[in-house]
């Protein structure tokens, strides 16, 4: 009986010690499983690292832009001193072209489309990719808005201009080479009825996203402002052709 007692005592303590570890691991797994949605909401470390790298690059680019603009301003004020009338005319034309090419903020009626990653993503572990908004989800929306006569478009305040690219780089969507994170807010200035009708048409671009269970919201506004493109990339290869333009 004595040896039996000793045997019992012998297994009790090591097993209890491992039981502490077992309980701790259970709790760890329990709380980790709960925190998955929070971690997974588009703000993961790799996303943030990419955003940091991109914004540092952006700052350097903007510093160069400031230097360029200062020298340009000096040239213009010199020209203004020479011939005031001519400069006014030139300035008017310049303003008009700048607004058209997205270098100035513009204001007007239009629609705002809110897109976000699917809520199903929080439950998905294997195919979380399927529930993310990709470049190929944003492009048809922008295309449809343009076809419906949108005069200015922006995605998360990134103006969509002639040289804008919308594409996925790793886990984030880049617009104008700036990484964006969900929710995506697409603003478009134009005739609100036409724009809303174009994207909201049955089996159209928004219906497709809704059928994939993405949260989509369309808002018609009477006035809003769309920001300009932050930095206009310089033209290195394309040079204007001298001579009369198309008449």
């Amino acid at each position: 009986m004595g040896s039996q007692e000793a045997g019992k005592r012998q297994w009790l303590w090591p097993v209890s010690a491992v039981c502490v570890a077992l309980g701790a691991l259970l709790a760890l797994q329990f709380s980790s499983a709960k925190s998955v949605p929070e971690v997974g909401r588009g703000r993961r470390a790799d996303v943030l690292a990419q955003m940091l790298a991109a914004s540092q690059e952006k700052i350097r680019e903007q510093e160069r832009e400031i230097v360029r603009l200062r020298s340009e301003e000096a040239r213009f004020s010199e020209a203004a001193a020479k011939g005031r009338q001519f400069t006014w005319l030139l300035n008017d034309e310049l303003e008009r072209l700048r607004a058209a090419s997205g270098l100035k903020p513009v204001k007007g009626p239009g629609v705002i489309i809110h897109l976000d990653d699917s809520k199903l993503r929080e439950e998905a572990t294997e195919d979380a990719e399927l529930f993310l908004i990709h470049d190929y989800d944003l492009l048809p929306v922008v295309n449809e808005l343009r076809a419906a006569g949108a005069e200015a478009i922006s995605i998360n305040d990134q103006r969509v201009v002639e040289r804008t690219a919308i594409r996925c780089v790793g886990p984030v969507v880049h617009v104008n080479n700036v990484p964006l994170s969900p929710p995506y807010i697409i603003k478009a200035i134009g005739d609100p009825k036409t724009l809303a009708g174009a994207v909201n048409i049955k089996d159209g671009v928004l219906d497709r996203l809704r059928s994939l269970r993405f949260p989509v919201r369309l808002e018609v506004v009477q006035t809003m402002e769309i920001k300009p493109v932050s930095v206009a990339p310089p033209m290195k290869y394309a040079k204007p052709v001298k001579g009369p333009g198309p008449q």
């Binding site: 045997g7 097993v15 491992v18 502490v20 309980g23 691991l25």
Partner: protein, 134 residues
């Protein structure tokens, strides 16, 4: 006496739960296999204890070796692109059910007072044994 492991389980759970500890998402698989290794060790220890041939060295080294091998499998699986997590789950799972079956038999012997079956019925030939006392 049998309550001590349960108490230890509750203590371990509460300490981590109250401290709100959590592991990065990437290490989730490692926690899973460590959890399985711990559960397997507890069942194995319980079984050996009931068979009255528990050896704390075998128990402790078994726990750590199994946990490390399982972690190694998960890591290698990650690197090779083969889901080596599965064999760990299957191997430990099969053994846990087997040990549970034996524990159940011992429980029946002790609690319901059924006739003790020969030990060989519980212990396969390949299982480890303490060297017989000289």
């Amino acid at each position: 006496m049998i309550l001590l492991p349960l108490l230890a389980l509750a203590v371990g759970f509460l300490v981590v739960y109250v401290a709100k500890l959590s592991v990065p998402l990437a290490l989730g698989d490692y926690v899973s296999v460590a959890l399985l290794a711990a559960l397997d060790s507890v069942l194995g220890g319980l079984r050996a204890g009931l068979a009255d041939r528990f050896d704390s060295w075998i128990f402790v080294t078994g726990f750590f070796c199994n946990a490390m091998l399982a972690a190694l499998f998960v890591y290698a699986g990650d690197r090779l692109g083969v889901n080596l997590y599965l064999p760990v789950v299957v191997a430990l799972g099969v053994r846990m059910f087997y040990n549970l079956g034996i524990i159940r038999r011992y429980g029946m012997v002790r609690l319901a007072g059924r006739k003790v079956l020969p030990e060989e019925a519980y212990e396969p030939a390949d299982s480890f044994r303490r060297p017989p006392p000289p």
